[in-house]
Amino acid sequence: MSGEPPAVAMRDLVFGWGSGRAILDIETFRVDRGERVFLRGPSGSGKSTLLGVISGVLEPRAGEVELFGERLGALSASRRDRLRGAELGVIFQLFNLVPYLSVTENVVLPCRLSAERARRVKETGRSLDAEAKRLLDRLGLGAEALLRRRVTDLSVGQQQRVAAARALMGGPSLIIADEPTSSLDIDARERFVDLLKEGCAERGSALLFVSHDTTLSAQFDRVVDLAAINRARVEEAA
């Protein structure tokens, strides 16, 4: 790996809601640039909370989170929002798309909210719409008729691929996927992960893939078990 700071670095992180007991207590966690990490954890193990902390939307009670060398705790809320907009692509388990925007508009959305991501697309010499079309094409959603459909009329598999295209749009440095395949059937899962990996490889984006389904873990550089690194959960289980 290069001498650049890692995509995600975490030290002695503690998170809990209000003054309640800690949900997350993680000594260290790290995702290198361009690395593909599979984070395994059963549902309810605090995966989504962890992603909220990494994306700077939730503030930890203690400890440090660094994104690309920037300490989130030292940034203002709006700086964190801007960093997230520029460098993160997020894919959820379901309902990723803004229902009132078209397929293309959904994919272009990150570039509307982040000037940095719009700039990166412009550097390739393509228009935003053309880039969206190219990404959708690569994900197998190139048909014109499909682009004009309401996003709510798409199948779940199609919706997830549109969400992947949106996450990749404008070349963010880290793609976070939160159980993106759990609503897909087995064949579609493998295919989806392949496409996502290809998309990340094109720009050298890191991929943090969170799932309870270990059948997919073989496709990743590294597998991390959340239960193993989260002391809060370990203590509770004991």
């Binding site: 989504s48 909370t49 992603l51 909220g52 994306s55 939307v57 939730l58 809320a77 709006s78 929002d81 801007r82 997230r84 907009g85 520029a86 993160l88 997020v90 959820f92 388990q93 379901l94 309902f95 990723n96 798309l97 803004v98 229902p99 009132y100 925007l101 959305l109 990150p110 509307r112 909210l113 982040s114 000037a115 991501r117 719009a118 949106r166 939160d178």
Partner: protein, 423 residues
């Protein structure tokens, strides 16, 4: 780069929930329609009243109240309360300070339009608006005993042109059963439109009114009425016994109060001389209470309209938590989700207010002729102005202010949810 995409998102989001949005927009539109409508009608009525008479220094009638006198003599609203003897009229007309007088004799009607007995001085001296005088569209003033000069609305509504015969009904009712059909008048002139009650009046000669009533002294037709034919009447001198009111012009306006006092204290009969401007301002004082009540009620309706927007937005908050998490994940800031709802409320209020105004002006345009026909009030005079702009800006700003509450709730939800999507 931040503001524009947000307003587009707000617009698209609203379009997505178009039925509830449309209903809250409608609530605002109706409330603005009412609020501005009350104001326009009020304004139109005032302007229309104030434009009706100018250049007259005194209006004289039987003793009653000045407002009442002005209403029946100038605005042709309500019935005259008494009369002035011809002798008193001559006395007033002969006063040194008096430049001109217009005698008016009211009490008869023609197919719902009031008949006004007067003299040719009416066409010389009657002024309205900014001192405009009466103009003839066609024809000319009285030259014969049974000549009539009709207002623009009368000509239009009844389709009368020069030479048309007019049978005057006895009394002011629209459906009188006693007609002076033995002595018809002939249209000698049609006046150009003035926007005043003159448009809705049939003017005839004082002597004509007198002639028509020969044999009607008891209030109903007597055999004498048939004996005295129109031809015979033209041959005799017809001096009216009494008239209803006098419009007086003075040589010098500063003598108005002195002349007023002299008329008010005339020994021969109890008379009242009123200053038109003063009587009008008294009228506004009376009407003002009702106007303010109407304005207050319609302002409350605007508040209700704003609350409808608030309720619509608040109701949608829970089902939109997912949408907010998505927007946050793609880089929308915590204040963006706040601003999104403010933008939405502003958008609904703005469009609603514009729609309300558009509907109002369409309605005013469509209904103005009817209102003028029924009431003589021209409500179409008041076009869009700064008041309308202020209402649109005010309603939009008030909506933004009210939306602070749902926006704050949304902001709190969004902070608590993070990127977790509640299904």
């Amino acid at each position: 780069m931040k503001i524009a995409p947000l307003s587009i998102l707000a617009l698209r989001s609203v379009m997505n929930r178009r039925w509830s949005a449309l209903l809250s927009l409608l609530a605002i539109a109706v409330s603005v329609f009412l609020f501005v409508g009350v104001e326009k009608v009020r304004e139109g009525a005032r302007q229309s009243f104030e434009r009706t008479i100018s250049g007259a220094d005194l209006v004289v009638g039987a003793r009653s109240g000045p407002v009442n006198l002005i209403l029946y003599s100038i605005f042709r609203i309500g019935d005259p309360t008494g009369s002035i003897s011809w002798k008193s009229y001559q006395e007033i007309a002969a006063m040194d300070e008096v430049a001109w007088t217009i005698p008016l004799s009211l009490g008869d009607a023609h197919r719902g339009f009031r008949v006004v007995g007067t003299e040719n001085t009416f066409f010389d001296h009657y002024q309205y608006g900014d001192g405009e005088t009466l103009r003839f569209a066609v024809g000319d003033r009285f030259t014969d005993l049974f000549d009539a000069v009709i207002g623009a609305d009368v000509a239009e509504a009844l389709g009368y042109t020069l030479g048309a015969e007019i049978v005057v009904s006895h009394g002011l009712g629209e459906h009188s059963f006693a007609h002076h059909d033995d002595k018809p008048f002939r249209v000698a002139g049609v006046l150009a439109r003035t926007g005043t009650p003159v448009d809705r009046s049939v003017h005839v000669t004082l002597q004509g009114v007198e002639a028509m009533h020969v044999g009607w002294e008891t209030g109903a037709r007597s055999p004498l009425a048939s004996i005295m034919t129109a031809e015979r009447l033209r041959g005799i001198s017809l001096e009216p016994d009494e008239i209803t009111a006098i419009i007086v012009g003075l040589k010098d306006r500063s003598s108005a109060l002195a002349v007023q006092r002299r008329i008010n204290t005339m020994d021969a009969e109890p008379l009242l001389a009123a200053l038109p401007a003063l009587a009008l301002s008294q009228l506004w004082q009376i009407v003002g209470v009702v106007e303010r009540a109407l304005s207050a009620v319609s302002a409350c309706v605007v508040v209700v309209g704003l609350i409808v927007i608030l309720v619509t937005i608040l109701n949608g908050l829970n089902e939109r938590r997912r949408e907010m998490a998505i927007l946050r994940s793609v880089g929308a800031g915590r204040f963006d989700v706040f601003a999104l709802l403010i933008a939405e409320a502003k958008l609904l209020a703005f469009l609603g207010a514009i729609a309300g105004l558009a509907a109002l002006y369409a309605a005013l345009y469509a209904l103005a002729p009817l209102v003028r026909e029924r009431t003589g009030v021209s409500i179409d005079m008041a076009g869009p102005g700064w008041f309308d702009v202020a209402v649109v800006v005010g309603v939009t700003a008030a909506a933004a202010l009210l939306a602070l509450f749902p926006a704050w709730r949304n902001y709190r939800n969004s902070l608590a949810d993070g990127l977790a999507i509640r299904l």
